[in-house]
Amino acid sequence: MSAASPVIERGTAASRIAGFGVAIIILLLAVAPQFLSAGAVDRMTALFIYVILAAMWNALAGFGGLVSVGQQVFFGLGAYFAIRLANAGLNPFVSLFASAVIVGAVSWPISLFMLRLKNGEFAIGMWVIAALTHLLVNLDRLIQGETGTSLISLNVYDASTRRVAIYWLALASMTALLAILFGLLRGSTGAAIRAIRDNEDAAASIGVRVTGTKRLLFVLAAFGIGVAGALWLATSITFQPKTYFSVQWTAYMIFMVLVGGIGTFEGAILGALLFFIIETWFGGTGVWYLIGLGATALIFSLLLPRGLWGTLEERFGWRLLSVGYRVRLPVNASDTTGGTPSPAQVTTSREKA
């Protein structure tokens, strides 16, 4: 080993610039409704919800190593509890967030049980939970089975106020949830999360609280997806269990995260953006659009499992929002084995988050 020691950096110049950029983007988004048409405001609200969904599924799968195909359960419950709370007389806007808190609370006992399952068993076990919850919600007389009901109390607000209010709520929720996730990944939990992602058994053996950390991500994801479900209800007013408990939501989440880059903070956001654009362009083509989504997810998982962002990051060493440390090895440090390291070897020794 040569004398040159590794340099440890936290963030890069690019990531500091990106930090400012993010603040400016959020500000611009906050004032945007002034300049946007009603339809555009609705679409932007949908985009924020997609970002939430992608980021939350990514938190679970990309960071917690828990692939679930039943996350629609929390989306549906977010909407359902909001209906229930509003029906009980709570202000509909307050209901949206109270509902998400309840979803988070409900996810806790579920996690006690489901986190003992592994990989495919967890994935499909969550689907069973979603199917069962859907059936149970159908039994609620208020919901009237698949007929569904509406968040009528929201109708007391006039349409344009309602639209902008929901837009801001969605923007604020997205920002807050991303900030929470970012904080988690950057803090001491982040180190645990990355350790688990890279090697669960090794992480456990050095004392990382694997189950506790996974549970935290599970509950966070449930809460976030609950927020998304409640917001979706607020934009569409009507609640039909079939639409909300549809596995399609999870399919969207998987698509966004796979394409954007699983296990990268930025990748999920990029994936949501791409999904939003694709939906805007091709959503009208109906079933071919869905076939395209499935096929794209399939192809990405086979050929580009790190997704777009993951691949770019690997190729160019890009990092905008720094969630961890990076270790730069001096060029000769890895030369002890006698082989000449390719540039790729030097950059791969950086922390990947």
Partner: protein, 298 residues
């Protein structure tokens, strides 16, 4: 009541049929194929197409569809599962889920949203029944399905324990590297296993179409049934799948008796209860609830 129990047990045969391919594939390749149900529905649609368009009765159509399913299975393993399994345990879940979405929507694109059934093409078999003592009526089709399940499970067991290919598959499932070192072509063993699994899926799809209706999105439900039956049956032997199927069917029957909407709920609840008991009594980490040892239970 005893009538319903008999019907429940017979229905369990169908669940065992659809579950055995899923758990077989899991035990050999450690992959849960999320496109399992969709592939069964694909087989049902293929038979429906043969029957309605070309007037080939479903039982004859199986002669075309089952070899096709075997080919699909081999190709699936070769081009999809093997590739994605190299990327870790999570990737195959995503790959097969993507595949399920593609299959479901292609079927929808081709056949529309209408529910279909193979019942019109099998003549009186769809409603014929025998009267058993105690004025219990059992459908001939239900009995055929049950017997098929038993024969299939038994045949699979014999194949795995008594033939060289079966041993190769078991060796590959236990330790693919060492299997290669003793001369087993692990790739081929996996492809054969996937082909066999898909043949069972094709059969299950046929019976799904004969005993009930199906539509392009029916795959998800079938997948859940298969998974639940396989997990309830547990880590015993292939026969555990049969027990799992029967328990699932009886729970559904019981659920339907309690509440008109209770059929599916009963099944899901039974699954969760069994899972709960299993997780908290065994104490072990439970790597692979689905795994079964294909040899004699020791």
């Amino acid at each position: 009541m005893s009538n319903q129990i008999v019907q429940g047990i017979l229905l369990g045969g169908y669940y065992a049929l659809i579950a055995c391919g899923l758990s077989f594939m899991f035990s050999v390749m450690r992959i849960i194929n999320l496109a399992h149900g969709s592939l069964a529905v694909l087989s049902a649609f293929a038979l429906w197409l043969l029957a309605s368009r070309f007037h080939i009765p479903p039982f004859l159509g199986l002669l075309i569809v089952l070899p096709l399913m075997a080919v699909i299975g081999g190709a699936l393993q070769r081009f999809l599962l093997e590739r994605s399994a190299r990327g870790g345990a999570l990737l195959p879940i995503l790959t097969t889920f993507g595949l399920a979405i593609v299959i479901d929507n292609v079927l929808f694109e081709q056949f529309g949203a209408n529910t279909r059934s193979l019942a019109p093409f099998i003549g009186s078999l769809s409603y014929d029944s025998w009267e058993w003592p105690g004025s219990i009526y059992v459908g001939k089709l239900a009995v055929i399905i049950f017997i098929t399940a038993v024969v299939l499970l038994g045949g699979l067991q014999l194949f795995l324990t008594r033939t060289g290919l079966g041993r190769s598959i078991r060796a590959t499932s236990e330790d693919p590297d060492t299997a290669g070192l003793v001369g087993v072509d692990a790739q081929r063993a996996n492809a054969v296993a996937a082909a066999i699994a898909m043949v069972t899926v094709g059969l299950a799809g046929a019976f799904l179409g004969m005993r009930a209706t199906f539509d392009p999105y029916a795959g998800a439900t079938q997948l859940l049934f298969a998974f639940e039956a396989a997990v309830i049956g547990g880590a015993g032997s292939l026969w555990g799948t049969l027990v799992g199927g029967i328990v699932l069917a009886l729970a559904q029957t019981l659920g339907a008796k309690i509440h008109p909407q209770g059929f599916l709920i009963g099944g899901h609840v039974a699954f969760l209860i069994v899972l709960f008991i299993r997780l908290y009594t065994s104490g072990l980490g439970l790597r692979g609830l689905l795994r079964f040892s294909t040899g004699k239970v020791s």
